[in-house]
């Protein structure tokens, strides 16, 4: 008992651990909520693209002494607009355009970071640095998170309808174009917030895995949101503790816990899990194509 208590309490005596836990809990709430929409809309690849595309924005913002969120937001939304434009103007398929644009932006970011003189550490951008997060970065993350949460909560039903049936949404007079870009803008902002915690490479996990995990557990959207947020927060807190005691990469530990939670649900989810499916129709699951 005392050992468990020590295990839990000792890290909290370090200020950087308390900060890291608070920031990543907040970021998990934002990403957990957003990931429901990403999962249902099928925008995982878009999340990956936006999170990589913000890199040059972050570098330029640091070099110009601007808040990094501003640069990241400009490049995140810019990449989305460019993807839409190229897709519309050519016959290239969307996933190809996404792959093309985000690698281009990411390459620009890498080149810039090697040429522009600044005190940014590449590994912090790529893999996150939640244990060493500065006060100004915390402030930015809080502002971004509150903004995204407010938008997603106020427009949650419109966004849900937009994901489910955009034709009907449009026919009753909702501006689906606005909703589309608004959701992508929120994605850019959430990617920036998530970047603080797990870095560019793994932020897509924050934007996809909690939603996918929750989707296996329920057929109700409201419950899906709460389960998604819960799994994101549990993963962040457990991941940070784990990384503290194992002295391992924080981003790696957080995402690993998320993946483990997903696997657990994949196996054991009451209705959509593998075991439940096998119990229902043992033959069908053994021969999925039959």
């Amino acid at each position: 008992m005392t050992a468990v208590l020590t295990w839990l309490v000792e890290p909290l005596q370090q200020e950087f651990m308390v900060r890291a836990l608070l920031v990543s809990t907040l970021v998990s709430c934002v990403c957990g909520l957003l990931s429901c929409y990403m999962t249902l809309k099928g925008w995982a690849l878009m999340g990956d693209a936006v999170s990589h595309a913000v890199m040059p924005g972050v570098v330029i913002a640091y070099a110009l002494n601007l808040p990094f969120a501003v640069g990241a937001f400009v490049f995140g939304v810019g990449s989305v607009a460019l993807i839409g434009y190229i897709k519309q103007m050519t016959r290239i398929k969307e996933d190809t355009v996404i792959g093309l644009v985000f690698t281009g932006f990411f390459a620009l970011g890498l080149t810039l970071i090697s040429k522009v003189r600044s005190n940014i550490d590449l590994s912090h951008i790529l893999f996150g640095n939640v244990l060493g997060i500065s006060s100004s970065d915390i402030l930015q993350t809080v502002v971004i998170s509150l903004l995204v949460l407010t938008v997603l909560v106020v427009l949650r039903k419109d966004l849900l309808l937009f994901c489910f049936d955009p034709t009907h949404a449009r026919s009753i007079g909702l501006h689906t174009g606005v909703l589309h870009y608004l959701l992508l803008s929120m994605l850019s902002l959430a990617a920036v917030a998530g970047l603080q915690t797990v870095g560019i490479i793994l932020v897509v996990a924050m934007l996809v895995t909690p939603g996918a995990t929750a989707y296996l557990l329920t057929d109700r959207f409201d419950r899906m949101v709460w389960l998604s947020i819960l799994s994101a927060v549990i993963s962040s807190v457990a991941g940070i503790y784990w990384s503290y005691w194992m002295d391992a990469s924080t981003a790696g530990c957080i995402v690993l816990v998320q993946t483990l939670l997903f696997l657990l649900c994949f196996l054991l989810a009451p209705r959509h899990g593998l075991l439940a499916q096998r119990r229902r129709s043992p033959r069908a699951s053994r021969f999925p194509s039959a």
Binding site: T167, D219, F221
Partner: protein
């Protein structure tokens, strides 16, 4: 209750005059005109690519006509849309049936346009949803996830959404695709009720037997409106031959055409 009744405004529901729609310079519909009155069931008949979807999109305001005008209930389309006068009932293939919403929530989506920004249902919205679900006999299944319904129940859920919306014009895209004979009968009964209430239904269909069995009017389309009017006078073998590019079809009550003769084996 005004919100649940069709918006009555004169007798003319749909008025399309000299409509032209182009996509990137390619003409999809050219100089199409038609007028439909309240309390009409109208079949929209044409080959694939003849402009049926384009006409639906134009009636919902999704494509901007390059020429011509559309009025619904005597109002310009923008105003009619804001009044939620037009409901679209999608083909079942285009819906994600795994989506985590239940039947009640789907039907409530028909009311969103009338609610405040947070879309919090008022008593009047709940009442409209209940009434709509009662009419399509799905109230007892309201808590089911939408994909847990049978094919016919799914169709009825979307009809209920159009009802809850209070639409006076309903556009139905291939409503009989993949439904059994019992569901089809139930749906036709509902359509006839809607007609008695003064709603106007436009039904795109590949099954010509429906046209003669319950549609008062028919619109034949092949890049333009070739003919429209009373089924008895418009639905002739000559007109059908024009519509299907020279393919001779008898306008018999049992005739069914292949959706796309060009791709027929």
């Amino acid at each position: 209750m005004p919100s649940r009744q069709p918006h009555l405004c004169g007798n003319e529901r749909i008025s399309v005059r000299h409509l032209c729609v182009e996509y990137h310079g390619v003409v999809a519909v050219h100089d199409a005109s038609l007028h439909l009155n309240a309390g009409t069931i109208c079949a929209l008949v044409g080959m694939n690519g003849a402009g049926k979807s384009t006409l639906f999109k134009a009636l919902m305001g999704f494509v901007r006509p390059s020429a011509g005008t559309i009025a619904v209930n005597g109002l310009p389309l923008d105003q009619a849309r804001r009044a939620r006068a037009v409901a679209y009932v999608p083909q079942t293939e285009s819906v994600d049936w795994n989506f985590p919403v239940n039947v009640h929530e789907v039907v409530m989506m028909g009311r969103y346009g009338a609610m405040n920004l947070l879309r919090i249902p008022r008593p009047v919205d709940r009442e409209a949803v209940k009434e709509a679900l009662d009419r399509v006999e799905l109230w007892h299944l309201r808590d089911r996830q939408i994909g847990a319904l049978s094919g016919g129940q799914r169709k009825r859920a979307f009809l209920a959404r159009a009802l809850a919306q209070g639409a006076s014009v309903m556009l139905l895209d291939e409503p009989f695709n993949g439904v059994d004979i019992r569901t089809e009968k139930l749906m036709i009964e509902l359509f006839e009720q809607f007609r008695r209430e003064g709603r106007t239904l436009m039904i795109s269909t590949h099954d010509l037997s429906h046209v003669t069995s319950f549609c008062d009017q028919v619109v034949l389309i092949n890049k333009t409106v070739l003919a429209y009017g009373e089924t008895s006078s418009v639905f002739t073998s000559e007109n059908l031959a024009l519509t299907f590019g020279g393919l001779r079809l008898e306008a018999s009550p049992t005739a069914t055409i292949d959706p796309d003769p060009r791709q027929a084996p």
